[in-house]
Structures are given as C-alpha cells and as structure tokens.
C-alpha cells in the first residue's frame, strides 16, 4: 500500500540514485567557450557549426573519460572587460573545466592573462597575434590557429622568388595588421636586403577610404603590394584597385584573402593572380579532410568555411587534452596539452611544448576565377612547423616562468 512513508523512502532512494548512482557519473564534462559572435558573425557562425559538429562526433563515440562533453558558449561582445566577466561566469557558475575560444587579439590576450591569474587551461582558437604565445605567452595558454607570423612567413618564399624591389604595404591599423607588416618587412629584408618599402597605408579597420588608398599606393609606383586587409576593407580595396588599374603589372600578396569567409563575397571580382593564404575546401583530398567535409555537409547542408575548421579543431584539441590528461586536474591538463599531438582536418598538429603554439598549417596559393566565383589555384599546404622561427628566437621572446 502506498503510504506517505513508502513514498518518502522511495523518493529518497531515487534522489540517492540520481546523486550517487551510475547516472551521476554520466554528467557531461563542461568546456567553457567564449567568442565575439555578434561582432564577427561572418567568421563565427561557421565556427559555431564546427563546434557543434565536433561535440556531436565526440559524444556519438562515447565521449571522453566515459563522460559526454558539453560546450557552453558565451558572447564576449568583442570587449576584453566583458570577456573576463563571462570567463569568470563560466568558471564559477557553470563550473566548466577550462576555457576555449576568442577571436580578436585584445580579447585573446586579456583572457590569456586571466587564465594565468586563475591558473586554468585556455586554448585560444582564433586570435592571430604573435604575442599570445611569444612576448606575452604564459604556461596556461595554448593557441590553435596559424599565427600572423606563420602565415606571413608562408608567403615569403613566393615573394622572394619574384625579386621585386619596390614594395607597397597596406594593412588594417591594429595589432593583426601591424604585426603582419612588421613580420613581412623583417623576413623579406633578411632574404632580399635590397628591397625597398615605398609606401605604407594603415586605414582604420572597417573604414578604409579605398579610392584614396589605391591612388596613394599607385602614386608610389610599386612593383608589388603586401596587404593584410580582410572583410569589407578587402572588398572595397579590390574594387577600387581594379577600376583604377592599380594591380596592372603589380604582384599582390594578401594574407587571409583565400579564406572562403573573405574570398566568396568577392564573387566574379576576385582578384586573379594574388598570392594568398586560405582554405580551398573543395579541393583538399586528404582522408581527414574528406571525412570532416562529408560530415559537415551532411549535417549543415552548407560547405565549411575556415571558421568551421577552427571551431572543430579547437573542440577536438580540448577533448584530446582531456583524454591524454586522464583527469580534469589543471596541472595534468596543462602537462597534457603541452606537446599534444592530434589529427585535425588539416592533418596532424602538435601543440609545441616550447611555446604552446600549435603547428596547424595553412594553404598558400593564388586566386583564380571560375564560373563567376573566386577559388585558390596552384595551392600547396604548408605545415605550420616549417613557418616558425628558430627555437632560440622563440625562447628569447617568450618570458620564462
């Protein structure tokens, strides 16, 4: 007979089961993710899909350490102050095991410093700044994405081969553009001491006066141009430059311009012959990429952008770190992430123990147009480890602790 006592006992047993029984062991491992979703939606919407795909795959395969994983995402508003606050929220309220994500350099650096203060693992997904692993590197921060320096270094062999003397430079006026420009000048000068930098334009991010900039560059009569513009700035520069004949007989190098996020909007106006870093997603035939591509297209009925790969590989890095550490203890996680090797859609990468930079590579090629769409031709994959400075140089830059 159902009495109140029976009912109470039964409930207590159920509660106990829920708390301590096998179901309790199944609570997912929480990973905290933060990014500037509303500030850079063109990159971060595909990125989020990459994350979703990775989580689904990991959980379908039984999760990690016998538990499923859950990625808890927050919008950091592109603002370091807000980023630190949501990072706190993820750690103290959501009780996440560690942090991943971020896009702009300043947010990445602020969260990296926060991770050091709170002594938690942080895997920076997208910030390209060299400082996050070098000048301002710390023991708790790891970075997935091929950095500004690495992508610039990947373009250098082609630039040197052309033996152009007069170079003009244009870059968005903030950390990423500044360090790309500094790296390019330094590396090219080393290989080609007689090079001359005849003009330098630094328009504010998102507010380029493309006509005036194109004209000023043309006035300097360069043989070649190095640009690190992207997004709307790039589109405006391409159109004005083409109309004004700036690119006639001039070789152009542009970081990131081969990424679908920035190449596809240009459609038939994609500038043919430019040397770029990017992601020729339809032509990569490695088994690891084909597997990723098929899964992505099946799930989302859309092709992946570079952001998708970054989001996917970030979650996979987090999962492999947990697997290797065998626990969620911060010290063990850090030890595991250091020197971690894993398979990504771009092949094997290793988080170097010397500076916590992953060796994720990038695709280098030239832009061509077919059927009213830009694509990368004559591309090759450059492994990240071949685009990094010597260990001695890295040690000199990175603070010791």
């Amino acid at each position: 007979m159902l009495t109140r006592n029976n009912l109470l006992a039964g409930t207590a047993a159920l509660v106990a089961l829920a708390l301590f029984g096998p179901a309790g062991a199944q609570t997912p491992i929480k990973i905290g993710e933060l990014n500037s979703y509303k500030v850079f939606p063109a990159f971060l919407e595909p990125y989020k899909k990459g994350i979703e795909l990775a989580v689904e795959e990991v959980n379908a395969a039984g999760g990690v350490l016998g538990r499923k994983i859950e990625v808890i995402s927050r919008d950091d508003n592109g603002n370091p102050g807000d980023a630190v606050r949501v990072a706190e929220e993820l750690l103290s309220r959501e009780q996440v095991s560690f942090l991943i994500g971020t896009f702009p350099s300043n947010v990445g650096l602020a969260v990296a410093d926060f991770a050091k203060q709170r002594k938690v693992l942080f895997i920076a997904a997208e910030p390209l700044t060299d400082k996050i692993v070098w000048d301002s590197g710390n023991a708790y921060t790891f970075r997935l994405r091929t950095s500004t320096y690495m992508q610039t270094a990947m373009l250098i062999p082609d630039a040197v081969k052309l033996k152009k003397k007069r170079w003009a430079i244009v870059y968005p006026n903030y950390e990423y553009g500044q360090s790309a420009t500094a790296a390019f000048k330094k590396l090219l000068k080393e290989k080609q001491p007689d090079v001359e930098f005849v003009a330098e334009q630094a328009p504010p991010l998102g507010k380029i006066d493309a006509g005036a900039v194109a004209q000023a560059l043309a006035d300097a009569k360069p043989d070649a141009i190095f640009s690190s513009l992207f997004g709307a700035d790039l589109a405006k520069f391409v159109r004005e430059g083409q109309t004004r004949g700036l690119f006639k007989g001039v070789e152009v190098f542009n970081l990131l311009a081969g990424e679908p996020e920035y190449l596809d909007p240009l459609k038939e106006e994609a500038p043919e012959g430019w040397y770029v870093t990017g992601y020729p997603w339809s032509e990569i035939k490695t088994p690891e990429h084909t597997k990723f591509l098929t899964a992505y297209q099946t799930k989302f009925k859309d092709y992946p952008r570079l952001g998708s790969v970054v989001g996917y590989a970030t979650v996979m890095s987090a999962v492999e770190t947990i697997k290797k550490a065998g626990s969620l203890d911060q010290d063990k996680l850090i030890a595991a992430a250091s020197g971690l090797k894993l398979m990504t859609p771009f092949g094997m990468v290793e988080y170097r123990s010397i500076d916590h930079q992953s060796t994720m590579g990038a695709y280098v090629g030239r832009i061509a147009v077919k059927d009213g769409k830009g694509y990368m031709k004559d591309w090759r994959f450059v492994d990240g480890k071949d685009a990094l400075p010597s260990d001695a140089e890295v040690l000199k830059m990175r603070p010791k602790n």
Partner: protein
C-alpha cells in the same frame, strides 16, 4: 604629391564627401526640428545599402534596375523612418531632454539583428553601377566614372534641399520649427504631421546616401556605427540645422581624409609621421578645432532659446539616511549568501554605477551633456595600469592616484568644453574622448596600442573576489556619496541655478564658468576612480574603455534609470549591466531582445525606471488618500 595626385585625391575626397553629406543633411534636418539625437540614423543608412543590394538582385543589373533600386531603397528607408517616428518617438516627445536618444539606441540594436537575420552575416558586395563601371582618365590617372557622378549628386541634393526649405510651405514650417517649435504649434500647425514628414525626408536622405554607396561599399553589419559618428561630426562642424554647413563640413572632412592618405608617411626632422594613421581621428581633430574657434560650427547660429517641451525639471530629493543604510548593509551581505559570480557581477555594477552617477552629475544637475564621458573612465583605467606597470608603483597607490590623472585631463578638456553649450558642448567632449582614444590606440610602446595592457592585477591581499568587491564598494560608494553630497551643497545649488537660468545665475554673482569647470574636474576624477577600480578587477584594459561604445553605455544607464532622479543612474547601471548579461547568455539574437526590453521601458516609463516608479508610487498614494 604631384599636381596630378593632388587633383585626384581632391576628387576622391569630394566623392567620399557626397554620401556623408546626404546622411548628415538628414540628421541635421531631424535634429533641427525634433531635437532628437538620432542614433538610429546610421542604421537607416545601413538599411539603404542592404535594401539597394536586394532590389538590384531582384530588378536586374541594368541601368534601369540599378537606379530604380536606389530610389526604391531610399523610399523604403523613409517608410522605416516613419515607422520609428510614429511607433516609438511620437510617444516620448514630452520626456526629459535626450531621453529619445535611449529609444533610438534601442532601435539600432533591433535593426542590427533584423539585418543579420534577413541578410546573413556575410558581407554582400553589390554590383558596379551599370554603364558607369569604367574609369575616366584625368591627368593620366584613372578615377571611377561613378565617383564623378557622386561628386555631382552632392550639390544637386543640396540645391533641391535648399529649394524645398526656402521655396515651399513645408520648408518654411521646418525652418520655423527649427527656430521655435512651440510657437509653430501655437500657430495651429499640426506638429505630429510635421515631425513625421521631417523624419521621412531625413530617413530618405540616409537611405539614399546608403543606396548610392552600393557600388563602392559592401553591405555589412558594421556600417551603422561606422557612419553615425562621422555624420554627427559633420552636422556639428557645419552648424546644427544648416544644410549648407553640413555640405561644407562633409567636403572639408572628406578632402582632409583623402589628403592624409595621399601624403602618407613623411619624415620631418628625423621623425617619421604617418598621416595615413591620422585617418583614425582626423574628423574629430577638425571638430575640436572648429568648435573651439567657432562655438556654433561653421555656419550655425546661436541656438534660439528653446522653451522646453517637457515639464520643468523637478527638484532633487536628498536620499534618506535610513534607506541608504539598508542598502549598504544589503550590499555588504551579498557575498555571504550569493555565489561567486554574483559578487563579480556586482563589482562591475558598482564601477558602472559610479561612472553613471558622475555622468548624471554633469548632464543632469550641471546641465552639460557629455557624449565622451568614457574619456575619464578609460584614462583613469589606463592611469592605474600605467602607474603600476610603467612607474612601478604599488597597486594601492596606482588605484588612488589614477583619479588625479583623469582629473588632470578633465582640467584641460573641461576648460574648452565649458565655453560651449548644448549639443556643441556634448560633441566637443566626444572629440576629446576620441582624440584620447586614438592616442591610446596608437601608442604601442606605452599604452600597449590596440591590445591594451594586461597583467594589472590587485595586490595579493585584495586578490580575492569578495575582498575586491568590498574594496570596489568602498571606493565607488564613497565616490557616489561624495557626488550626492556635493549636489546638495551650495556648489551644487549654483550648478543647478546655472542650468535653469544661466543669465540669472550670473546676475547674482555666480562665476558660472568657473563652477562648471570645477564640476567637470570633479566628475572626471570620480569617473577615473570608477575606471581604475574596474581595470584592476579585470586584470586588463583595452582602448574600448575609452571608446564611443563605453560613453554610450554611460548615457544609456543614466537615461534608463531616469535623468531627473538622484538614484536613477545607479538603478540604470545595475539593470542595464545585469539584463545585458542575462540576455546575452540565453538568446542568440540577444541584441534585438535587449533593444526590445529598452523600448518597452522607454514606452512604459518615459521618466526612466526610477522616475516612472516614483510617479506610480505617488499616484498610488494619492488614490489611497
């Protein structure tokens, strides 16, 4: 630069000026008649681009398709403007001054998410203008034919506007309303209709400015905020309400930018100066110079005495000690019962509360609206960080000296600002804030440039989140108490006298300018304190603490809480920070939701939250009596 490049850069500048002029002319018109600081004007421009893009895709890339799309897009944006006016703004014309700004800010948030939802995140590169896609050769250099057309469109629109304003009855009414809208109403003109029509014309101009940009600029979600600051600068530099002035200012700024780019990097006396980097701030430099030399802009006239449309500002009531004590005890008790994150959240709120109260002090009782209040917040934050990192001071000293540095900047900026009034004053504060921002943004070796400073954590004994919360509460609470105390001192009374009647205040011997200057320095220092407490709670600072966004947040907090109340800014800071955090966590389109919430508050409580609740309370008491 050769002669040919000078000419070409001149043409580039004029082409860029054209769209800027259209947008600013619309803004100027709307402001002149309705006195609304319309943040959503940039969103209307953005909608013009998106609309033109979609319409061209639909109508075909022919000359007919292109030009009908441009015109239809402009008209459609005009209809959006009417909707904004009728559905939102018309309901709050009698709210306290500047309150409408809050509503237009909410509209910006909503439109941005609607655009994201409708057109997606990817940039949309529109087609070139059919028939005008080629370049024209001038002095051996190529310039797009479309740019030449744009150069012509500017003066044509100026001419049409001039005819409309001087030769039609509607124009006469607009001019009359710009001068004295109460009188226009008293003479039997239907103000609602006039305002709606002005909003329509202004919005059409914004939409046209956007639609005409489609061959030069991809439609993207950053356009709204990118153009709005420039549009305000041009409106103010030209002189409020002066369309010709706006044209002149647009040309000056457009050409100045083009020449900064054209000059590029030069070496003077061994120093390399990059004029191209100056494009970051050149419009604000021009505005600062113009306003210091001409307090009403290039072609503006001193504003006619505006009979206030709203009810007179009610006197402030001093907070009761008992209630304040209850709040202090409650706030002290929070960390004992709440989880760690609430403490962190409250630390943020406490900093913003002092920031908002200091802004309220200057814009409410002192009557000087500041659009650049983040300057002091950010400079205080940077001063704290720099004193710790560069001067090697202990953190406690850095924290307490930072307000003095922020105050020192306020001494300089304030000296210029108190010489102006109204929106001109507000825009000059913005100019100083932007100049500070650009210096911090560029000075890599000292301020860390665009990355900002990190590793600025409190000393070990303050590092605990609860301890730091108590420190923040002590610092900011003292600051707030001090500001409130000052408001009820003779000094505060003198400031309020100056706001309500400058003439009479001067007549009874108040050195108004001196008092206002002192007020500027006081709030600057206290905003600096808020900034420095904030910086040490985050461990890092970036230039965004000085940005327009931060200044806007301050305005939103004050207006949300109620500018005519004492505690409003504190409530506004708490509600805004908390709601944004909660909404951003739970919804994808959080900006639209946030905008919706603000709109709801705006429509329900036109006196702000505290003002509205107070009114409700009074009504309830009356009903009982």
């Amino acid at each position: 630069m050769t002669f040919a490049s000078i000419i070409i850069q001149l043409l580039n500048g004029l082409a860029a000026a054209s769209s800027l002029f259209l947008v600013s002319a619309g803004l100027s018109l709307i402001f002149g008649v309705t006195r609304i600081v319309n943040f959503a004007h940039g969103s209307l421009y953005m909608l013009g681009l998106y609309g033109a893009y979609s319409l061209i895709e639909a109508l075909g890339r022919t000359p007919f398709g292109f030009w009908s799309a441009v015109i239809l897009a402009a008209l459609a944006v005009g209809l959006v403007g009417i909707a904004i006016e009728v559905l939102v703004l018309r309901r709050i014309y009698r709210a306290p001054e500047l309150f409408q700004l809050l509503a237009t800010f909410a509209v910006v948030l909503v439109i941005k998410d609607i655009a994201l939802f409708t057109w997606g995140a990817e940039d949309l590169v529109g087609p070139r203008a059919p028939g005008l896609s080629m370049a024209v050769e001038i002095l051996g250099k190529r310039i797009p034919a479309y740019d030449l057309l744009l150069i012509a469109i500017g003066p044509v629109v100026l001419g049409v506007m001039w005819l409309l304003l001087t030769r039609t009855r509607w124009g006469a009414l607009v001019r009359a309303a710009t001068q004295d809208r109460e009188m226009v109403g008293a003479l039997g003109v239907d103000q609602a209709k006039l305002f709606t029509s002005v909003f329509f014309v202004g919005s059409v101009l914004a939409g046209l400015g956007g639609a005409l940009q489609i061959p030069r600029e991809p439609a993207n979600l950053e356009l709204d905020l990118a153009i709005i600051a420039d549009a305000f600068v041009i409106t103010v530099v030209g002189g409020l309400g002066s369309i010709t002035g706006a044209f002149l200012a647009a040309v000056i700024i457009g050409v100045a930018k083009a020449f900064c780019i054209g000059i590029g990097t030069v070496t003077w006396f061994g120093f390399e100066i990059s004029f191209s980097k100056l494009t970051l701030v050149v419009e604000f430099l021009i505005m600062a110079v113009v306003l210091v030399a001409r307090p009403y802009g290039l072609l503006g006239k001193p504003q006619a005495v505006q009979r206030i449309a709203a009810d007179p500002v009610p006197p402030l009531t001093a907070p009761s000690w008992k209630i304040a004590l209850v709040w202090v005890v409650l706030l002290l008790g929070v960390p004992l019962v709440a989880d760690r994150y609430i403490t962190i959240m409250l630390t943020d709120i406490v900093c913003f509360a002092l920031f908002a109260v200091s802004l309220h002090f200057i814009m409410g009782p002192a009557g000087m609206v500041s659009f650049g209040h983040a300057a002091y917040f950010g400079l205080g934050a940077y001063a704290g960080g720099l004193l710790l990192k560069r001067a090697g001071l202990p953190m406690e000293a850095a924290l307490l000296l930072a307000p003095l540095c922020a105050g020192a900047f306020a001494v300089v900026y304030g000296w210029f600002c108190v010489r102006l009034s109204g929106v001109y004053l507000a825009m000059l504060t913005l100019a100083f804030a932007q100049i500070s921002w650009s210096i911090v943004f560029q000075w890599d070796s000292f301020t860390g440039g665009s990355n900002g400073l990190f590793g600025i954590w409190p000393s070990a004994w303050l590092a605990g989140k609860t301890t730091y919360y108590y420190l923040a509460l002590a610092c900011c609470g003292t600051g707030i108490a001090l500001l409130w105390r000052v408001l009820f001192s003779p000094f505060g009374a003198a400031l309020r006298a100056g706001r309500d009647s400058p003439l009479r205040a001067e007549a009874i011997g108040i050195d108004l300018r001196g008092f206002q200057w002192a007020a500027f320095v006081l709030v600057g220092a206290l905003a600096g304190l808020a900034g420095s407490v904030y910086a040490f709670s985050k461990g890092s600072i970036s230039p965004s603490t000085i940005s327009i966004g931060q200044s806007t947040d301050g305005l939103i907090m004050v207006l949300l809480g109620g500018v005519e109340t004492l505690t409003g800014p504190v409530v506004g800071a708490a509600v805004y920070t908390w709601v944004r955090d909660a909404v951003a966590r739970h919804t994808e389109f959080w900006r639209a939701v946030m905008g919706g919430i603000i709109l709801l508050i705006v429509l329900l409580f036109p006196q702000g939250l505290v003002g509205g609740l107070k009114a409700l309370f009074l009504r309830w008491k009356e009903a009982r009596a």
